[in-house]
């Protein structure tokens, strides 16, 4: 495995976009100007190629390993058992299974604290001494390194692959904007941070990436900084994310306190030298665990969860995402739909070891996810701005993913993450094309029947809508169905909520489609406002669907259609079984298995972690299509039909319905007044508190500071007036005095 180019040179994946960003940032204004997209195209493109070669190399090894390997015995096994078997197989000279997960160290980043002696006797990441005690003088050791496993490879392909197509699209979309180079420099920086986030082999790298993408998101939302709304939205996104990141940071610190390291798996999986491994060992029956670790394991998931809620826009921290649509559309597609906002899901899937035994945390995640899905889905019903509809839809779909990881089906969560990345990026970019054609107008009441104006976009958007609505055989159908199925397995209420949300999703998606593309052709009058930067004069003549913008859309559309096949339930080699090669999923499955049989809960469906029972016969019984699939398809079709009735056949019907449900309509149009509630309940009191603190600062703190500064100031003047007066005699006398004092010290 290590001989593959992509493994040895995985460091190039984050580095190339960074280089591109630096080139675009430093040379863009002066030299590159309108060509500033080239460094980013090349850098991100190369990273995408590397990511895919990493994935395919891994797949090849996996296939080879599976064919040559003896099947692992069925039934309950523990990691110790598996390790013993692996070791035995190694001794016999058989390469039983190729470990697809490994840690690649680039360099020691931080090695602080502890004494040198403690570094020696506790080599590398191993913070335990031979007798198993945790090193009291443990150093704070952070590697700069990558953790390469199937989950990383899949995430890298999503980030770099979709990232590349969106940068290609952006070059066409952003043509002629002022600060063109700035946009691409930020984009490169974003992809650097995002790859660091998914590649890092420890929590500090994760945090670095986490904050990096947050910063880039802030910069890009505020890209049109002349617009007050964009500035406000950027600020809001930044501040709301700080709340989440605060919890996230505390969680990481608690990890370090409890386990003495921040590495995921230390030197490698099952070596007992990383947080996730040690947490696992502690949770196995008979595992040694200190009382402090026990308490920490209760709290860490909740703290990490707060971070995930902030970054992935879950209730109550979702408020920033709809406003973030003030940024340029490619940014909405890349950052606020496809990649960054899914970081929370990635993080929980990565750390499933920490989450699965904590039932309270899991229930919280699942219910917050379900509630967010329903809540945001319902707001999307009465939005008229295209991007706002998709923004709330994104929040809602992220809720689905959270339910998936909450009900112990991380494979379904990651699967939905991938399909969602494709079709949501497609939908947002299509919105971008519409926005381009309509000179910045996005209100669906202002135009209609665009299928003849934008024929290609029409087809692409339809594909995206079908996928989002979950219509067979588009990708969204499969991933959403898996989540709904897992939710029903766990809790019927959750399942029903998700099913209803699926109905809403189909409704608002096709409401948008029927209004925008079907019906009588209406175009907005003169270009509404030139704020978008595209001059009005060229409007009539220029092609609304240039190839540079269409090509990425076609690729994404193919993904939106076909990505559902990745986890085809019948196939033995699917996304799930591949992801199961990642220790995060394996450990999660093992702990979930033990925890939920011990706690007397329901038996866990381990195939939701990607585990396939070794017994072929047992597998054959699992039907490829479940009744739930049929139900969810019918529900989605109902939604489409209702949208057709209300928004195409008889457009007045929708308004009639809205008037009939007056109260509900106002509630939805006011977005439940969550923003206003936050403003009055949190922001205003905080502002008052701030003013009070300001007065205290002025009166008390400044006074104390002045007093503190008075002492050295007085000493300084005293020194100046006594010794440092410029007279040589004075100097000599002072020196003589000092010498005497030193001599006294020596002989005393």
């Amino acid at each position: 495995m290590s001989d593959l180019f992509a493994f040895q040179h995985a460091w190039l994946i984050p580095l190339l976009p960074l280089l591109g960003a630096l080139l675009a940032g430093f040379l863009g204004a002066r030299f590159l100007k309108r060509q500033s997209h080239w460094p980013i195209w090349l850098g991100v493109g190369a990273s995408a190629v590397l990511s895919f070669s990493l994935l395919f190399g891994m797949l090849a090894l996996w296939t080879k390993g599976r064919e040559s390997s003896v099947r692992e015995p069925a039934g309950k096994w523990t990691v110790e058992q598996a390790n013993l078997e692996r070791a035995a197989a190694r001794d016999r000279g058989e390469s039983k299974s190729v470990p697809l997960a490994r840690s690649i160290k680039w360099f020691d980043w931080i090695l602080a604290g502890g004494s040198d002696a403690s570094h020696k006797s506790y080599p590398d990441n191993d913070i335990r001494s031979a007798d198993g005690t945790v090193n009291p003088l443990r150093p704070f050791h952070v590697e700069a390194g990558a953790w390469i496993d199937p989950l990383t490879a899949v995430m890298l392909c999503v980030v770099c692959g979709i990232g590349f197509f969106i940068t290609v699209f952006a070059a066409g979309y952003m043509k002629g904007e002022s600060g063109y180079f700035r946009f691409f420099a930020y984009l490169g920086l974003f992809l650097f941070s995002m790859t660091i986030l998914v590649m890092g082999n420890n929590f500090v790298m994760l945090y670095l990436g986490w904050e990096g993408v947050g910063l880039c998101s802030y910069l890009l939302i505020g890209y049109y900084y002349e617009k007050p709304a964009a500035r406000e939205a950027a600020k809001k996104a930044f501040l709301v994310n700080r709340i989440g990141d605060f919890g996230f940071g505390l969680g990481i610190m608690l990890c370090f306190l409890a386990f003495g390291t921040v590495s995921y798996y230390g030197n490698g999986p099952h070596t007992g030298s990383g947080v996730l491994d040690m947490a696992m060992a502690a949770q196995l029956p008979g595992g040694q665990i200190t009382p402090f670790q026990q308490t920490a394991l209760k709290w860490i998931p909740f703290l990490l969860m707060i971070g995930a809620f902030g970054k992935s826009a879950q209730f109550p921290l979702y408020v920033w995402l709809p406003d973030a649509m003030e940024g340029p559309t490619p940014v909405s597609a890349l950052i606020h739909a496809a990649t960054m906002v899914t970081a929370g899901v990635y993080m929980i899937a990565r750390c499933s070891t920490l989450f699965v035994q904590n039932e309270a945390a899991l229930i919280t995640i699942a219910f917050v996810g379900a509630f967010t899905a329903l809540f945001a889905g319902s707001i999307a019903l009465r939005q008229f701005d295209l991007k706002k509809v998709f923004a709330y839809s994104t929040v809602s779909q992220l809720g689905f993913m959270f339910v998936a990881v909450g009900v112990l089906a991380p494979v379904a969560g990651v699967f939905h993450l991938i399909t969602h990345a494709f079709f949501k990026a497609l939908l947002f970019l299509s919105c971008g094309v519409i926005m381009h054609a309509m000179s910045g107008e996005l209100d669906m009441r202002k135009f209609s029947g665009l299928k003849r104006v934008l024929p290609k976009t029409h087809v692409l958007m339809l594909i995206g809508c079908l996928a989002l609505a979950g219509i067979f055989p588009f990708s969204g159908f499969f991933s959403k169905d898996e989540i709904v199925g897992a939710a029903f397995h766990h809790n019927t209420l959750l399942g029903l909520v998700l099913l209803f949300t699926a109905f809403l999703t189909a409704y608002y998606t096709f409401r948008l489609y029927f209004r925008v593309f079907q019906g009588p052709e209406i175009l907005p009058e003169a270009p509404a406002h030139a704020s978008h930067g595209h001059g009005g004069d060229e409007h009539g003549s220029h092609n609304h669907e240039p190839w540079s913008m269409m090509l990425p859309l076609f690729v994404l559309a193919i993904g939106a259609i076909l990505a559902g096949a990745l986890n085809w339930p019948e196939r033995e080699r699917s996304l799930g079984t591949f992801l199961y090669e990642s220790p995060s999923f394996q450990n999660g499955a093992v702990i979930a298995d033990i925890a939920f049989t011990r706690l007397g809960g329901k038996p866990v469906d381990l195939s939701a972690f990607g585990r396939r029972e070794a017994d072929e016969a047992a597998m054959g019984h699992e039907p490829p299509f479940t009744p739930i699939m049929g139900i969810s398809l019918i529900v989605a079709l109902c939604g489409v039909w209702l949208a057709y009735r209300n928004h195409l056949k008889d457009r007045a019907a929708a308004e009639r319905l809205a008037r009939k449900l007056g109260g509900l309509t106002t509630l939805l149009e006011g977005k439940y007044w969550i923003d206003e509630i936050y403003e009055n309940a949190i922001v205003e009191p905080l502002k008052k508190l701030g003013r009070a603190f300001f007065i205290i600062d002025q009166m008390v703190v400044d006074g104390v500071v002045w007093m503190i500064s008075f002492i050295p100031q007085a000493t300084g003047f005293a020194l100046k007036l006594t010794t440092q007066r410029g007279y040589l005699q004075g100097y000599a006398a002072s020196m003589l005095f000092g010498v005497l004092v030193i001599l006294l010290l020596i002989f005393w």
């Binding site: 360099f107 020691d108 980043w109 931080i110 090695l111 602080a112 604290g113 502890g114 004494s115 040198d116 002696a117 570094h119 020696k120 700069a144 500064s709 050295p712 100031q713 000493t715 300084g716 003047f717 020194l719 100046k720 010794t723 440092q724 410029g726 040589l728 100097y731 000599a732 002072s734 020196m735 005095f737 000092g738 010498v739 004092v741 030193i742 001599l743 010290l745 020596i746 002989f747």
Partner: protein, 550 residues
């Protein structure tokens, strides 16, 4: 070839050469390059009329050659050993210091080109660069000697050109006065030092601090015990020995500008032209620290880091620690009220020298059991601190020089509105000031953190030093932030200006180095660890010395 020439005249010549053949000069080719460059600078005026700039370029070229030679030596697997009958020592520590020094002097010359070249009288260049390179040679030798004679020679070789450089602006009254003060102080402290060194020679009858191993071709080489070994073996000396070591500390303390030998420092920095101040602030202090570290470490090592009845290592450590703490405190409090940026930086450099002296106090007594790992910890801390400090000061003085050139004044008040008038310079200065305080995200943080961790890990009364450094850091924040406040919050209606591009480049490069060194915290620390080995410090692996009575 040289060994063939030397053999007939000097007894034991062939035995003392650790490397047979002609390769033994290799580690010192860099120093030879400096000498050649001095000659080249002196004859440059014969070839060109614009000799100032030409001399600078010649000096730069020579220094580049020296740097390349050093890098070759440093990359070599084993360069450790004594040369020239023990007069000079080469080891990782010395190589690292020399690389730092030469890079720094190259920076100083670039700074001169960007700030002062226009103001220097045509024809003064050769003299100036001869002096600069001469002092550099002295400082380079200070880093690689543990022989009493060489100590005195190299200190004087470094000092004498410095005195002249301090007063190089002949028409400048303040400079002339400062130079005179510098000479008088230097003479006084030098005489105390040479007095101390002569007592040492008188007591033990040898000039080499370290023991010399004579390769006689057998498995049991003859060992000529050095001064440190004899000191440890004999029991006499007492008060006389204390006076001798005191003399050494005074001589070095003057170069480091430790309190109470610091009086020259602010006056000289204010009076000298800015690149000379910058040069003295890092090179002179660094060389002295490196020299003292080597000498004390060898002595402490000979005693096995234990107090002996006649020599109390812990009281030497206490004296150095107290001097360091007082130096840092006096430097910071005095800097508090300075209005002249050069005087402010002078006191700041006194304070930083104090911090480094605190680390130096570690060498002579360890609380922990001595292991291969913690043996070289103080050397590592000082190397790391010097490397960071060098870039901070080079950058800060460059910005100070550029601003002084633009405004014609060296007052801190001139910095008001700099953030608007020259955003690049202001951003760089911001970086240097934050780094000098020791705050992230700049490398000053790494250096200070490393120093504090080293002190803390030793525990005991070193915690006192940790507290003193902590309090001093808070104090220093006040005056560093005064500059930042002036730059970004001060009002100034004057027009924006474009600083000299070369100067801006130096400042930018230094700032970027400071960021890079923080990002590369791990690799950078590893590098200093790798180069922190001091030759002759091998208490763990040393064969038992059969002491020959003096």
């Amino acid at each position: 070839m040289l060994s063939a020439i030397g053999a007939p005249f000097i007894p034991h010549w062939n035995e003392v050469l650790p490397h047979s053949g002609d390769g033994f000069l290799k580690p010192f080719v860099a120093d030879l390059w400096l000498i050649v460059t001095i000659v080249a600078v002196l004859i440059t005026p014969f070839f060109t009329r614009k000799s100032n700039i030409a001399c600078a370029l010649v000096a730069l070229a020579g220094l580049t050659g020296a740097l390349l030679c050093l890098l070759v030596v440093g990359a070599g697997s084993d360069v450790t050993g004594t040369h020239f009958r023990g007069l000079l020592v080469i080891d990782g520590f010395a190589v690292f210091w020399k690389v730092l020094l030469i890079v720094f002097v190259m920076g100083i010359i670039l700074m001169w080109l960007s700030v002062s070249a226009w103001g220097m009288h045509e024809g003064d260049g050769p003299e100036f660069f001869t002096l600069l390179l001469g002092a550099t040679l002295g400082m380079s030798l200070m880093g690689s000697t543990s022989n009493l004679l060489m100590i005195f020679l190299s200190v004087e070789l470094a000092s004498l050109p410095s005195y002249v450089m301090a007063g190089f602006r002949k028409t400048h009254r303040v400079g002339a006065e400062a130079s005179l003060k510098y000479v008088l102080f230097g003479a006084a402290t030098s005489s105390i030092m040479v007095y101390g060194l002569s007592i040492l020679y008188g007591l033990y009858g040898t000039l080499d601090i370290h023991s010399t191993i004579l390769a006689n071709g057998t498995a049991f080489p003859t060992i000529i015990p050095g001064l440190a070994a004899k000191m440890a073996a004999s029991t006499g000396g007492g008060a006389l020995l204390a006076v001798a070591i005191f003399g050494l500390i005074v001589g070095i303390g003057f170069k480091v500008s430790a309190v109470p030998f610091h009086f020259w420092c602010p006056d000289v920095f204010e009076g000298a032209s800015i690149e000379v101040s910058a040069f003295l602030s890092v090179a002179s202090k660094g060389a002295a620290l490196v020299l003292l570290l080597r000498a004390l470490m060898l002595i402490a090592d000979a005693f096995g880091y234990q107090n002996a009845p006649h020599v109390s290592l812990s009281s030497i450590a206490a004296v150095i620690g107290i001097i360091g703490a007082v130096t840092a405190t006096v430097g910071n409090t005095a800097a508090f009220i300075q209005t002249n940026i050069k005087r402010l930086l002078a006191y700041s450099s006194i304070a930083h020298a104090g911090y480094m002296l605190c680390a130096l106090s570690l060498l002579v007594a360890h609380n922990h059991a001595i292991t291969v790992d913690n043996l070289n910890v103080p050397a590592q801390a000082i190397l790391l601190y010097l490397a960071v400090y060098m870039f901070m000061n080079l950058g800060a003085f460059t910005v100070a020089g550029l601003v002084a050139r633009q405004t014609g004044s060296e007052l801190v008040s001139e910095y008001s509105g700099l953030g608007r008038r020259s955003p690049i310079l202001a951003a760089c200065m911001f970086c240097f000031m934050i780094s000098l305080i020791g705050l992230p995200p700049f490398a000053g943080f790494v250096a200070k953190l490393n120093l504090l961790l080293v002190l803390m890990s030793n525990g005991g009364w070193w915690w006192g030093l940790v507290i003193v450094i902590g309090v001093n850091t808070i104090l220093s924040a006040f005056y560093y932030f005064r500059v930042i406040k002036a730059m970004y919050l001060g009002d100034n209606e004057e027009a924006a200006f474009v600083p000299n591009p070369l100067g801006s480049a130096i400042a930018l490069c230094s700032a970027m180095m400071l960021v890079l060194m923080l990002l590369g915290y791990g690799p950078f620390t590893d590098l200093t660890k790798k180069f922190s080995h001091v030759y002759g410090v091998d208490v763990l692996s040393r064969p038992v010395v059969v002491s020959a009575q003096p």
